[in-house]
Symmetry: C2
Subunit: 595 residues, 2 copies
């Protein structure tokens, strides 16, 4: 039977107690972590959010009925204990913060009993994730998981305080908005009052925050829930959270400045990590050329080398063929990996195929200077020497090459570089390397759709000096005032300066192949707003979940989301989504189509 | 043509300038509020979030081309101005903060032109709300509206900081949750991966926050978006925001304590209003007896008097009939209103009929001591005297009576009391009177459903001393550990201690007429969680929008929501909701039923 806590008041959380409290009478409340009887003694570890404290009953010292009750406790019972804090009579436990002390109880109440839980509440649980997610309320008792949420809460509080101090206003934008068929898939919400009509849940507050700038709010911040009905990958959720901001009367440098100061403050206060300001900036072109990625991990080297010119006239058809197709040949030098077994190289070859590469050419330079290579037979000795020299190949090095269209070469070698770093254990989770990637291409070509798409979104401002290219139709060359902030190879945020000039916006829609009607039906209210005086404005949004995941050194965003969905977008705990009631569907004017 | 701001950097917001800046060269950016030519002078008022500054061009002093450009400016153009701050040469304008100074421009750029707006951007706009909501981005430029959002942002920041300092963790709970057919109507979100299945948008994070307590999070706070698909009244929106919290190992007093300190801090910092602590507490029974309302406005008197015993045996059948039906007769004394015209009293009678009353009986005591009364003819002189005495009726007073079932009497006289206060102008918007209402009834009888319903929700804990009544089935007498915080006659928040004992929870479901299966299908995961050790816990939620509305002295929550919906739950600006694409519906396995 559950007892009431009436008449008791908790005085401390468990791990708030220390040697300084010795002699005090305290009241603690929490869960039984473990309970053991040992020669007339009952040791009970009581756990709450703060940590663990040991409670000890001893024959002769403790009331006999209380000992009996203590002995009956089982894991995850909820108890209230009144007792005196004492120095431990036994050995000090250095593993826990309260290891020097224990509580000698004078009163024990069982506030709630527990059945045997389906898995033990412990750090680094080995229990399968499906089981843990079904019993998420038990999983969330694990101290290592709670630590993530304590950090996430701290990040949110600091974020809001920082931006409030910088003159940003928090404004709530609607969740029940207008659905647009373009872009990622919206979650729809059927309207009951207007049967057959639907709201869309926001993929981001993009249009609303631009409207707020039109309204003169000047600086806007919101930690906003966003939704995307996409097929889920390991690190995606149907709902996720953005730290979303927009600023008026600013250019790229202003956005970067305030955000650098934010990141420095955040990492200092939460992790005691010093972020060197200014954060390094790199153009998109440089990032691709050097790292094969627009989110380069700068914690290690192994940069890409463009050897197109070196191999231009060589005898290896794979190289020359790629070059003739307007592609390139690039390589990375895996220092000291010259003796990598052939099997492992084959695995790397299979790995890059996922990124579109047809294969991986290699030169393994042995310690004695001889080379093993997949393509030596097609090359003259001079050609090989020139290539090794261009790659700065030394005895013991492994040189890996990809030859294809630029995009394929970058994607494969960029991914290969990170894969090698993982295999070679070059990634230090305690190191935080930031970089701004700037001057993104305005457009990217879609083979599938046979047209240019906006790389960021249609409201992104081109760089002023590239505006003439818009009139000339040289879309592929236009650089945008767009920027991403990258941390250890992860894009943690991104944004752009927006177009605030009607004439440029119109040209942009034209370049993207929107008819006037299409532009109007999707963005009509924004275009309308732009007729009445728009300030120059720019914004940025961080993916909060990913940011916290990296700060907490976790590998999955599910470890920083309290109640996450699994890959099929369902919740194992609540079993949502569930079939609707007939009456509900009728009210909405909908029927379910049977297969 | 829009000019670029490149090369310029704003140095001040408009109203950040003062006499202290005289002689400085500054760069301001904002909207043209108005522009007028007067004898070789061009006066331009420039507006931003902070306020207005006057810019003056003068022939001879200002460059001629600049004067010409300035003269071309029209309302709502966006401009950047570089110039020197000077003391006003003309009269000081005491209406604006920057009234002593003006800016003498040396550079003027037109960053964006504006068409003539559909209405002028001005305080206390007389424009119809539909027009303002269609062009909400223009409406939001009004300084009186912006002020509300600046306050709302401040309230949110202070709230989070206060509760973070008190050890509350901000945890995000899902928006895509499990739909439950009970209670208010959920908004549904169809699942694409599971055709025919639906998520429900949360009406509140109630179940999740209780699960977080089960998980040992100890103290939770979230400013959470909530959804209810109800027919909208003037002060309701389909989506609204709660300041939502839950605490473990606490009882009523602990929740009240931390929230009193919160309210005191909030009102002091935002409004410089001192809230006297502790805030007055009143039981539900007392509130109903004295004010006919569980959200009494304490800024004025006119309390209810129960005269049932006085009129028990009188000759007026309306009174005695009500008493025989287990009802009551109560009155209020509208002091000094004895000469209210009969027509006005008739209007009050019509008013109370909306609250279920069949009529209003009155005694108007004239200055000479004679009475006019709707029912004097049915009463003896002694009966009238006794009644007037019981009501403390003095010459010049108007006594108003209702006789019916208690609920009808309370509802009508409670509403009448507030209506009279409005008519008599007794409501001071600068006075803030808080009161906690406690000991709510656990159940309320539903004539419609012929059973008891939970007044708060099924997880509310009865008062310990009333638990035996649960076993006895005397449900109507059970008081709950539920509390509301009321401000000036508005419920701004409410909550309860929750049941954490399985056996009591089971009895509660039984009392509410839930079968085991119903309870399990709706709340299964919570009931399951409760098997593994639940701490005693309690919570509270504020309606953020209403709280800010009262603090900002507004009459509608639409004035504190950036992009509100109208009564039919549509958005006049975006035109949401809109018909869905056939392809979208197909993916969701849904079809629209034609009428």
């Amino acid at each position: 039977m559950a007892e009431s806590m009436q008449g008791l008041k908790r005085t401390h959380r468990c791990a708030e107690l220390s040697a300084a409290n010795v002699g005090e009478t305290v009241t603690i409340m929490g869960w039984v972590q473990k309970n053991r009887n040992k020669g007339g003694l009952v040791f009970t570890d009581v756990r709450d959010r703060s940590g663990i404290i040991q409670v000890v009953c001893e024959e002769g010292k403790t009331d006999a009925a209380l000992i009996e009750k203590a002995a009956s406790l089982r894991s995850e019972y909820v108890v209230a204990i009144v007792g005196e804090v004492a120095k431990r009579s036994g050995a000090v436990n250095e593993k826990i913060a309260t290891g020097e002390i224990e509580v000698l109880p004078t009163e024990l109440r069982i506030l709630s009993e527990s059945m045997t839980p389906p898995f033990q509440v412990e750090e680094n649980s080995k229990t399968k994730e499906e089981v843990r997610l079904k019993y998420r309320y038990l999983d969330l008792r694990r101290p290592d998981l709670q630590k993530n949420f304590i950090m996430k809460s701290q990040v949110m509080t600091l974020t809001r305080q920082f931006f409030a101090d910088e003159g940003f206003l928090e404004v709530e934008t609607p969740m029940l908005g207008k659905t647009t068929p373009e872009g990622a898939r919206d979650y729809l919400v059927p309207s009951r009052v207007h049967p057959g009509c639907f709201y869309g849940l926001p993929q981001s507050p993009q249009l609303y925050k631009q409207l707020l700038m039109c309204s003169g709010f000047d600086r806007y911040i919101q930690i906003a829930r966003c939704f995307r009905d996409e097929d889920l990958r390991a690190d995606r959720q149907p709902e996720f959270t953005q730290i979303d901001m927009e600023l008026s009367f600013v250019d790229v440098d202003d956005v970067i400045d305030v955000n650098e100061r934010y990141l420095a403050k955040l990492f200092k206060e939460v992790l005691d990590v010093d972020v060197q300001l200014p954060i390094q900036r790199m153009t998109w072109q440089e990032a691709m050329d050097r790292f094969g990625s627009d989110k380069p991990d700068l914690r290690f080297g192994m940069e890409l080398t463009d050897v197109t010119d070196v191999v231009k006239g060589c005898g290896f058809g794979v190289f020359t063929g790629a070059i003739e197709n307007n592609g390139s040949v690039r390589g990375i030098n895996a220092k000291g990996q010259g003796s990598m077994p052939r099997k492992k190289i084959d695995k790397l070859t299979a790995f890059v195929k996922d990124y579109g590469a047809k294969g991986l050419a290699y030169i393994a330079i042995q310690e004695d200077g001889t080379v093993k290579s997949s393509f030596a037979k097609f090359m003259s000795e001079e050609e090989m020497d020139a290539l090794i020299k261009a790659m700065d190949g030394q005895p013991g090095d492994l040189l890996l090459f990809a030859a294809d269209k630029n995009k394929v070469v970058w994607d494969s070698l960029g991914a290969l570089r990170v894969e090698l770093a993982k295999q070679l254990d070059l990634l230090d989770k305690n190191e935080y390397r930031f970089v701004w990637i700037t001057e993104f291409p305005q457009f990217e070509w879609s083979d599938e759709q046979g047209r240019y798409l906006a790389m960021h979104h249609p409201f992104t401002m081109p760089m002023e000096e590239d505006l003439p290219l818009l009139d000339k139709g040289e879309l592929g060359k236009i650089r945008a005032k767009a920027y991403d902030i990258v941390l250890n190879g992860n894009e943690i945020g991104g944004g752009s300066v927006r177009i605030h000039q009607n004439d440029i916006q119109e040209k942009m829609f034209e370049a993207l192949g929107f008819t006037k009607e299409q532009a109007h039906s999707q963005f009509g209210f924004l275009l309308e707003a732009f007729k009445y005086g728009v300030p120059p404005h720019a914004g940025l949004a961080y993916g909060l979940d990913r940011l916290v995941m990296l700060m907490a050194k976790q590998d999955s965003i599910r470890d920083v989301i309290a109640f996450p969905k699994i890959k099929d977008a369902s919740c194992l705990m609540t079993e949502a989504p569930t079939p609707a009631d007939e009456k509900q569907l009728e009210e909405l004017g909908l029927s379910v189509v049977s297969e």
